[in-house]
């Protein structure tokens, strides 16, 4: 087992284990902090897959932005003075059966399919290449996403404070 494999298994266990705790933990704040570890694990997997820029973006956008936003959501929609910020669960048994079947099917499909694997040459850093294709091949998507983010932020602000009109 090479060092690469050991690091992969560490990050895989971190990702899947804390992902399991995210969906089973009863306390919402605990679940949000387990989500932090899942996102860190995914960033580690990105590094192993030679996506250094994406790993940094994952840390900055998810951990620095989305997770904070979710924590704000938790804090603003529960009475924080309550010691227990808990969430109920419904349909446990059908959900376990259904998602268990789904997981079995997807995992066996992923393992049985004979994926054609021919790695290209590993780039030393992807930032240059990503910036290049973002402004050439994908420039339309890039501009549309910029518009979408602007619209989403204005829309979110206006939805959240509609009653002040």
């Amino acid at each position: 087992m090479s060092i690469y494999d050991v690091i992969f298994y560490l990050f895989a266990i971190l990702t899947v284990g804390s992902g399991y705790l995210v969906v089973t933990s009863k306390n919402i704040v605990h679940a949000a902090f387990y989500l932090l570890f899942t996102l860190f694990g995914v960033a580690g997997l990105y590094v192993l897959l030679a996506a250094d820029f994406l790993a940094i973006v994952q840390l900055m956008v998810y951990v620095g932005g989305i997770l904070i936003l979710l924590l704000f959501g938790v804090m603003l929609t529960n009475k924080v003075t309550d010691v227990k910020i808990r969430t109920g669960t419904i349909h446990i048994i059908p959900a376990v059966i259904g998602t268990g079947l789904l997981m079995g099917v997807i995992v066996s499909m992923m393992l049985r399919t004979n994926w054609k694997s021919e790695p290209g040459e590993l780039l030393f850093t992807t930032t240059y290449g990503l910036g290049r294709i973002l402004l050439t091949d994908y420039v339309l998507v890039f501009e549309l996403l910029a518009m979408l983010l602007l619209i989403a932020l204005i829309g979110a602000a206006s939805i959240a404070r509609r009653d002040n009109e």
Binding site: L49, V61, G88, G129, A152
Partner: protein, 103 residues
């Protein structure tokens, strides 16, 4: 144990995807449903990046993963605004109790 290859990353992402689905269908609190959604989006992203490395397609897969992250940020902002509005209207955010669009 065999050498880590494409299949290993795909299996990790499938497990993460199933956990996300489980979170979405079982949780009552709307914020927890959003956390399940984030897990699903991350699983899809792992697939994009894994195929980008092992498939010799250049950087297209990584660009798609970048777009997914941007969409996830927009989705989280809008969804949180809606959740705050729900809380103002119904004083709770349990998705199984909210079955009206207004009071």
């Amino acid at each position: 144990m065999i050498e880590v290859g494409l299949n290993h990353f795909l299996v990790v992402s499938s497990i993460l995807f199933s956990l996300g689905i489980y979170g979405v269908v079982t949780r009552k609190n709307a914020v927890m449903v959003l956390m399940g959604l984030e897990l699903i989006l991350n699983a899809a992203n792992i697939n994009f990046v894994a195929f980008a490395k092992y498939g010799n397609f250049g950087l297209g897969g990584q660009a798609m993963a970048l777009f997914v992250i941007i969409l996830a940020a927009a989705e989280a902002a809008i969804a949180l605004a809606i959740v705050l509005n729900l809380y103002k209207t119904f004083t709770n955010v349990n998705v199984d109790e909210i079955d009206k669009l207004k009071e």
